[in-house]
Amino acid sequence: MKSGDNNILEKVIHEKHTCYHCGEECREDIVEFDDHEFCCDGCSVVYDLLKENDLCRYYSIDGAQGISPAESYFPGKYDYLDLPEVREKILEFTDGKLARVNWLVPKMHCSSCIWLLEQLNRLNPAIRSSVVNFPEKKVRITYDSQQISLSELAALITQIGYEPYISLNDVEGKQIKKWNRTRLYKIGISGFAFGNIMMLSFPEYFHLSESNSDENLGMLFNILNLVLSLPVFFYCAADFFKSAWSALKGKYLNIDAPIALALLCVFLTSLYQIISQTGPGYFDSLAGAVFFMLIGRYFQDKTYAGISFDRDYKSYFPVAVTVITNGIENRRPITDLKTGEKMLVRNQELIPADSVLISPRALIDYSFVSGESEPVERKKGDTIYAGGKQTGLSVELEVLRQVSQSYLTQLWNSDTFTLEKENQNQTLASRINKYFSLIVFGIAIITFSIWLLILKNPETAFNAFTTCLLVACPCALLLSSTFTNGNLLSLFGRNRFYLKNAHAIERLSKIDTIVFDKTGTITQVSDAEVEFIGETLTNEELVMIKTLASQSSHPLSRMLVREINGVNASRRILTAFTEYEGKGMKAFWGNVEVKLGSAKWVDSPNISGQPDNASHVYVSVNSKIRGYFTLRSKYRPELRKTVSILQNSGFETYLLSGDKPTDRTFLTPVFGNESNLLFEQKPEEKLRFIEHLQSQNQRNVLMIGDGLNDAGALRQSDVGLAVSDDINNFSPACDAIVEGNQLVLLPAFIRLAKAGQQIIKLSFGISLFYNILGLSFAVSGKLSPVIAAILMPVSSITIVLFTTLASNLAARKYLKY
């Protein structure tokens, strides 16, 4: 018996087919084409297209892995791009003949993608050139607009798998690019000024301008210094002042406020010293500080830009919607929607305008607006507000109000996107900074009053006051968190663990409890053994079931769709589709009622009786139970190891599942304690459970979910981690995304985040040492420009070197390169 099993197993492994195009395992029908095997028609079509154009080198480049074309594509999807007002905004340049677009293509991932996207002219000679910017995942295409239209171009690159991402931001024609260059100009100018001021200050450092004839030269140098520092102060440092000012207006202190104050004081003191000819000023330190801080900021922004999901929330807005006029569907930009028009909103599409429902029923998911994860049911004639997502069948709506972007922005901005967990004052850096600023300010004032009132020396008093602020400039603090977090983000990214921002790292480091969601998280979504038990189903019934299941985004339904082979989902429309989360769904197929779901849902006695390690999906046709599908989910192979590492490191682990406790016997030893397993949890129960852990047990909770069905819980948790194999598939509720097979590294990720906080604290220590050293000079009124000029860059460089080296070492230790 045993050996027989093994033989079957070996055979199965032997017969594993991988798709020649996308490299995925072929699960469904294998498409044989040109001596290669493909997992789907889409992949073979792409292959055919590439082969026809002699582009097969694509497959021989290292790491080549094609992309199956998106299933969500339908002919006419990009028609709206040809409308003059849309085209005008999307095109970067056009002279009537040649035109150029710069599109975001989130799916490019390797060097073969670069190669293929730069060979587009061989697919269609109307394309003159295409240039890829890989870090930004953008491709700039120059094409002949008389031979190919913009919509055809979009359709062409969608066909080979690289769907361009066109968002409302593009339509609004925003230029983020220029801003990046501005930052470079600022770095260049401040660096230039820093170097030259330093050079011109050298005579001063060594007291070379004491004799008469040197005095004129010294004067010239001082004036040159002043001139050089003007662009630094007014142009390069402008961002610090702006940010500090806006923070002060909002009545809170940010990290830029003390920086701006220090810069202002130093500039004014130096100006006074030069005009009154009492000293050379501290322009060198000023320029140096600005230079180093700008480099820090640039590095930080660059790291963030690389993370594809750190997008403006506006990019979620739909660009176009399907409008029905006289029974004809056409795509139109949402800004062109007029009151009284009929629009068609498909499953998972956003409702762009306030409207009245024409279809009998709609299930609207308002999780983006209200954070509520349970879809709301609306009936014919109800008013539906913009911002929700339709789930289920396509619905028709009549537009009630024209789309006002400010309204949408306001709606989304209000809640989900300004998460309270992102509170600025709670980050380690800003907390330390608050005390730091207060203490420095206190010291400066005490010094000032001692010199003025006790020692009666107003000149030195003023000098000591400003030098205190200068030398204790919090730029070292700023640099230590920017560089550590920035470096960690890119190290995480290299291991395909994508964090939203630096705050998320900090919260990750405090995690002590980990809650797993079951379906789609610790089980593999795409892998299951499906078996039907009951009366044999006819072909038509299989079609019905597949069609019904394909309406739902529940993991079990998706699995069913994938596993029902040999039949295609029908294009015939189901009517009265209803899905009840946690129960099942039903719809009418003509006049036949079809129900899919739990045993309770179809009013079936639990046929299987004994709980086995499987989920069941029951099928009933016209209230007659036909049998059930058994779906045996496969757990991620590394689950046991991951959980045991986590438990050994002192984390509490919980499992929440919306499904039945079928796998309790298997999962109990993994999670250790039966009370840590909770089954049959509704979304709001999951949310409440996490809330309970946080408020009652004072726990910092990491919730791991698939990002689709547990948005509420993800948002409630301190860190919401979505497990996804498609990093573009995320909801704004999560703080991080990890690729499924990297989940085993989770303990290492948390340890690394902890190490990161240690590194930041240590580097604060280092900068504190420099600060005390500098302050001791400043308080005694003896901080000469040369000491300031040495202390500033040395402290900045030490911090940058220390944080970068230390975080790399920590990563090597925990992630084992």
Binding site: S60, S111, Q119, P135, F192, M199, F206, S213, N216, L217
Partner: protein
């Protein structure tokens, strides 16, 4: 410090009391600033031309062969 200053000037064989040497210094300083401004200008020009927009793709692109259609299909 003053001994250092003497040593510095002494090593160049000049005296800080010589007005001619000092006026040469004015010109040199201005000239050196102009050279530096030239480099700054070059930097700004290169940023404007987009040289710093993408620091990764060119490194990959150079390793990918130019189109060689015949060998491509044999793969």
């Amino acid at each position: 410090m003053s001994s250092f200053r003497e040593a510095l000037y002494g090593s160049f064989g000049v005296s800080n009391n010589n007005p001619k040497v000092m006026s040469a210094l004015y010109i040199l300083i201005i000239a050196s600033l102009f050279v530096a401004i030239g480099f700054l200008g070059a930097f700004i020009w290169s940023v404007r031309r987009g040289h710093f927009d993408d620091d990764y793709t060119p490194s990959v692109r150079i390793l990918l062969d130019e189109t060689d259609t015949k060998t491509g299909t044999l793969q």
